[in-house]
Amino acid sequence: MTATSTAVGIAGAVRSGERSARSVVEEHLAVIAARDAELHACNHVMVDDALATADAVDAAVARGEDAGPLAGVPVVLKDNLCTRGVPTTCSSRILDGWRPPYTATVVERLLLAGGIPVAKANLDEFAMGSSTENSAFGPTRNPHDTSRVPGGSSGGSAAAVAAGYAPLALGSDTGGSIRQPAALCGVVGVKPTYGRVSRFGLVAFASSLDQIGPLATTVDDAALLLEAIWGPDAMDSTAIPSQPEALGGDTDIAGMRIGIVEELTDVEGIAPEVKAAVERAAAGLDAAGARVERVSVPSCAYGLSAYYLIAPAEASSNLARYDGVRYGLRVDAADVAEMNAKTRDAGFGAEVKRRIMLGTYALSAGYYDAYYGQAQKVRTLIIRDFAQAYERFDVLLSPTSPTEAFPLGAKTADPLAMYLSDVCTIPTNLAGHSAMSVPFGTGAEGLPVGVQVLAPAQGESVMFRVARAVEGIVA
């Protein structure tokens, strides 16, 4: 990365008046215009809004004001973040054409920091998927190999950063939806602690798991964006009410204890090169003075199953509101119940319907205890097991995704195979902890591989320190 292409570099240049925000935005819009017909990372490019925001940043700089830590930095927003007056579709037909009358807290904070939203990024419909193929508007392609998926569900955000649309993007992560596409596209992706970033204005998938986080080309850039958006929010009851600890710029990991999680590394179907990458990263950290060991977090083995009961259950309720009454699509019918049912059948794609059905079933009379109730208990086990591991280790390490990016269409016929690509990332969401993916070389097919750094709740500071160290190791 050159200094002029990172968020840190751009913000510095714009704040000092060396570069104008308008020129920065124009350059990035040109990249989008050149590449997006092929990649389809964006649902909507906010050309006029972006230029107007850039001009406002330039005017602030000209007046000698502090234009903010993200001054003039283009940011791509996952299209499940509400933006007032700008289409917000969740890549679903059911919300096609909807323009929210309000803006998400994270986007408000981004603007306040001088950041410039330039586009709404494609995603798996309602963030349900691991390849961005579940978009009603067509899949996004991986910039490193356009015959392959970028991962998902924040595949548009990850591809946008990888292709240079913007140095930063926001995604959302319910079971790995930031980290897995970040790994597959060779960028940094962070899932902060649950409650650390306000969810107000994030269209809900699974409320107790969803968390917004940054994607970036460098760890420092990711930190810059995260620090701009996180912190308490009176509009989100689940937001942690205390101020977060600053991330700092430390890279020193001497004496740090790092555990490689067996259950997230020795997983079914893991590519040997991916496993090898984690081992090389561990060796590098060891060489830098950390003590690396293997550790077992046994209940992680149940993470995937628990997740595919909890997330669909919450989703089935969260997505009930798309009924054709107040906004979005309506398919006419003689009575309101039929109108609801036809609208929802026409408006939702196959994966969304599958999860609504699964979640409705798991919550329905007679099944609650066996499925949803049982899965919530598994969460307790996972939290306990992680707590034990964190008594011995400062951070944990694992692959982000078991494989490199797979070809488009490879897993669309087999839901379970697709679900398995989140096996390494899901336990973090169930526990509410923080984790991030850092690019670490390439795999057998020459495509990016990510290493996942996991930390306990509110452990972002130490997590970023280790991530910087991983970034500094030559893969």
């Binding site: 089935s316 509101r321 919550l363």
Partner: protein, 485 residues
């Protein structure tokens, strides 16, 4: 065949009451009745994608106050659940409510010496309001319907009694007492007609002496105490008729039709009763602190039962007068303020239960907004007590004082309404009237008891008329008796 007296009704009531907060349960939209449709709506109460609820502190405070007043246990922690079902008046197609961990459990209310158990009271959000267009405004005959979400998200408490109620009368008394308590503790306007208090009844019949419960029927849509009583009586009779005829009572929800005076079965979609409750992930538990509990206890004033007992004791009024007076917290406060201003309790109660209550009812007013302040009523009572004003004229004065801002003494002076008690002045008046009505006096002398009574009444009326209503009736009576001896 009327064999219904072999059955005993087993009734539990679910009372929904809208809380008198400034804003809604989970957002800052105004909680206000009667606004233009869809003007008190925001992303949260419209259920727009991405919106999140944040609980209104005052709702919790009100719930804790209710907990105190109805002798509830308040568990250390309570949570919200989502009740999932589709209906167009519900913006999220789930209702945020409390399920198996409500804020208040196991309370009671004493009604006419019987302790009615209350299973629970919980917080939940109200739905929007639908209007049916065409088909005479009836839901199923309508061509289409229109939805206003102003009421969506308004805070409700649902208060669920145990099945301890045995008759329509007891149900009415329970709701009346509950209403008085809710009003006294200031958590609700409790206007059934405006829908701020709604009552559903669960009712079954069993043979007297039997412990086996019959099939439970839920009756909805009673919008006054009177219709609650009518609906229960009707439903008891309906079920008794069915049982007598050997028919099976269906477990169902029935709708009370006020105009027709009958209940009829409601239509529901198949499977709609599987609400798939699960803990609301967007909200966190409510764990009332000691400080919150103490504040709630301090905010509960004297409750209606205690107040009634005190008024009977201190003012010497009847139990039934005390009941009527205390039924309206505002009227009771008004009366007490008048007594505090120096008037005699019994007199104040008489005026309040007469002219003041009639005026309030006629104009739909709360005693709080009357132009005559409580000390003005005390002034009026004083004018009567010291003989300045006759009771009859006092009524007129009060009526006027209730409609415009004028003090009783001021009105008496302006109009020259002060009572005349001067013996000489009144004696002359009596003599004059008797002289002018010699025939009537003669008829009195010749008549039997009945005729005498009639003629005396006539002459007293003439005398009072001649005094322009200002003559002191006691003095006039004595003078008249003296002369008719």
């Amino acid at each position: 065949m009327t064999s219904s007296n072999v059955y005993e009704a087993v009734i539990g009531l679910e009372v929904h009451v809208e809380l008198a907060t400034t804003t809604k349960l989970f957002c800052g939209c105004a909680n206000e009745f009667g606004a233009e449709p869809n003007t008190h709506v925001c992303p949260v109460c419209l259920g727009l994608p991405g919106s999140l609820p944040v609980l209104n502190r005052r709702v919790v405070d009100f719930a804790l106050r209710l907990g105190e007043a109805l002798h509830f246990d308040v568990p250390p922690s309570s949570i919200f659940h989502r009740k999932n079902y589709f209906y167009p008046d519900m913006p999220k197609d789930y209702q945020v409510s409390q399920y198996d961990a409500p804020i208040c459990v196991d309370g009671w209310l004493e009604v006419d010496g019987d302790r009615i158990g209350i299973e629970r009271a919980h917080m939940e959000e109200d739905t929007g309001k639908t209007t049916h267009v065409g088909g005479g405004g009836r839901i199923h005959d309508a061509a289409h319907s229109l939805v206003d979400y102003n009421r969506a998200g308004v805070p409700l408490m649902e208060i669920v009694s145990r099945p301890h109620i045995r008759s329509a009368e007891q149900a009415r008394d329970y709701v009346g007492e509950l209403r008085a308590v809710l009003e006294a503790i200031g958590v609700s306007d409790v206007k059934m007609e405006e829908g701020s208090m709604r009552v559903d009844a669960n009712l079954s019949l069993r043979e007297v002496g039997s412990e086996i419960l019959g099939t439970k029927v839920e009756v909805k849509n009673m919008n006054s105490l009177r219709s609650l009583g009518r609906a229960i009586d009707h439903e008891i009779a309906r079920q008794a008729r069915m049982l007598d005829a050997g028919e099976r009572v269906l477990q169902e929800t029935r709708h009370w039709d006020e105009a027709a005076g009958v209940t009829h079965g409601m239509r529901s979609k198949e499977g709609s009763s599987d609400y798939r409750y699960f803990p609301e992930p967007d909200l966190v538990p409510v764990a009332p602190t000691q400080q919150m509990r103490d504040a709630a206890r301090a905010a509960v004033p004297e409750l209606p039962a205690a107040k009634r007992a005190r008024l009977v004791e201190e003012w010497g009024i009847s139990e039934s007068d005390a009941r009527v007076l205390v039924e309206s917290a505002a009227l009771a406060r008004y009366a007490e303020a008048a007594v505090l201003a120096g008037a005699l309790g019994k007199d104040v109660a008489n005026w309040c239960l007469g002219e003041v209550l009639a005026h309030c009812n006629e104009h739909g007013l709360s005693a709080e907004v009357l132009p005559l302040a409580p000390d003005g009523l005390a002034e009026l009572v004083g004018l009567v007590a010291d003989g300045t004003l006759s009771r009859n004229l006092a009524k007129e004065v009060l009526r006027e004082c209730l409609t415009r801002p004028v003090r009783p003494r001021q009105l008496v002076e302006e109009r020259g309404l002060a009572q005349v008690s001067d013996e000489g002045e009144l004696a002359a008046l009596v003599d004059e009237v008797l002289g002018a009505n010699a025939a009537a006096v003669q008829e009195w002398r010749d008549g039997d008891d009945k005729a005498r009574k009639r003629k005396r009444g006539f002459l007293m009326g003439e005398v009072m008329k001649a005094s322009k209503g200002k003559g002191n009736p006691q003095v006039l009576n004595r003078l008249l008796d003296d002369r008719l001896r």
